[in-house]
Amino acid sequence: MRLTQGTFSFLPDLTDEQITAQVQYCIDQGWAVNIEFTDDPHPRNTYWDMWGLPMFDIRDAAGVMGELASCRKIYGDRYIRISGFDASHGWESVRLSFIVNRPANEPGFALERQESDGRRILYSTRAYAAQLPEGERYS
């Protein structure tokens, strides 16, 4: 099951050229660009691991793309996303976030039902991949 999180996630995967254009847009808006990765695809997993520091003082997308390439080299089998953080007053938040790398095989999620008191049912989702320990999930 294809993971749909963040912007553009219902489109086909972005090409490097398209990613470069999006990153350049973030830079032109003055946002700090971050590269983050994870192997836990659960939608409530908000805080992914960061690849390096946020990139504040970069003028051209080539610098970010170089970092993305080195991140892919090591974590190419995980989800990688790029986010643009707007530090301006009143926003102070992520303005754009999109997935730029995903594992070859995405097994999807299981729906778990738990019966509780009074035959009430509690639902939760669990990624099949998350059954394995961290780091072994997609390799």
Binding site: M55, D57, I58, R59, D60, A61, A62, G63, V64, G66, E67
Partner: protein, 328 residues
């Protein structure tokens, strides 16, 4: 550059695998006008005194790049040109200022995407302990991507006397990027001529990757005087006629002394003259000052300089902090 219309001979255009819709002829002149370069060159002529060989060289480089671009439109394959440069010359000859102009020129011609200049020295590239250098250098390269990386006093990167120096690591990363990411950034190395020569000898990889070696001549006395006057003009000062004659004398004397740093020494001398003018105005008690009093630098302000007493400024503790002295 040549102002003529230039058309590619028809046989050349036929022989080449012409791109579909390729034009039959190119108007280089119109290209030149459209690129916005004339303004930059006009600015250059206006703002920078002397440096005739450098200006000619810049025009030649711009012409080459324009022609390369025109050839591309005919499908005449040209590899991405190597644009890395080395600027050699004595202190204060305008290397950094010119690097800024170069970034603008390359940007107008579309050889760098953003046209910003990132100025670094050894401190910014080389770390203090093992494993510190590579991230630092890469950080700088990331910042410079799409623009021009100006490495001032580049020969400090290589320290042969210390074999465990981390400069070598930085050099290797730089060389790799200069080769593989030629369309991402242009590197300009700058420094004093003799030390740069030694640096290139010790690092042949650099020599072959740097296509343009530009040598900055020292300024003549008249040029220095003009530079001084322009600097004063931007600060809304001017020299009185006597002061101008004295200042010309000052330049002739100062040039013969050690630690002369061309434009920078002139700026420092004028800063000191302004200081003396201020204290002269402060001490006199002839009633209110006019605008003229405040703007004119008199001969006595310059004559008070220690250069006329026969001792170099730098040896008597007069402020020379801005000067980078001659190689020690």
């Amino acid at each position: 550059m040549a102002a003529t219309l230039m058309a590619i001979p028809p046989d050349a255009a036929d022989a080449a695998p012409a791109a579909p819709g390729a034009p039959k002829a190119v108007d280089l002149r119109a290209d030149f006008e459209a690129s916005g370069l004339p303004e930059i060159f006009a600015q250059l002529d206006q703002e920078m005194v002397g440096l005739a060989p450098i200006k000619r060289r810049l025009r030649e480089t711009a012409a080459l790049l324009l022609v390369d671009r025109a050839r591309q439109r005919f499908g005449l394959a040209v590899g991405a040109p190597t644009l890395h440069m080395s600027f050699t010359g004595n202190p204060g000859t305008g290397k950094t200022t010119l690097a800024l102009k170069m970034a603008a020129i390359l940007h107008r011609l579309g050889y760098v995407r953003r046209g910003h200049l990132v100025t670094v020295t050894r401190d910014d590239l080389v770390g203090q302990y093992i494993g510190h250098t590579a991230p630092k250098t890469k950080e700088v390269l990331k910042r410079a991507a799409g623009g021009v990386l100006f490495i001032d006093e580049a020969y400090y990167l290589y320290r042969p006397e210390n074999e465990r120096d981390y400069g070598q690591e930085s050099i290797e990363i730089l060389l790799q990027v200069m080769e593989n990411q030629r369309d991402d950034l242009v590197v300009i190395l700058a420094g004093y001529a003799d030390r740069m020569d030694r640096f290139f000898q010790a690092n042949p990889g650099f020599r072959s990757r740097v296509a343009h070696h530009i040598d900055f001549p020292d300024y003549g006395e008249e040029e220095l005087l003009e530079i001084g006057e322009r600097q004063l003009e931007t600060m809304n000062y001017r020299l009185s006629p006597q002061a101008k004659a004295v200042f010309a004398q000052y330049i002739a004397l100062r040039r013969g002394q050690p630690h002369f740093a061309n434009g920078r020494s002139i700026r420092n001398a004028l800063d000191r003259a302004r200081l003396r003018q201020a204290s002269r105005l402060f001490q006199r008690d002839e009633g209110p000052l006019s605008v003229d009093d405040l703007t004119v630098i008199e001969a006595e302000d310059i004559l008070a300089s220690r250069v006329f007493a026969g001792t170099p400024d730098s040896q008597t503790g007069d402020s020379q902090a801005g000067d980078r002295g001659t190689p020690s």
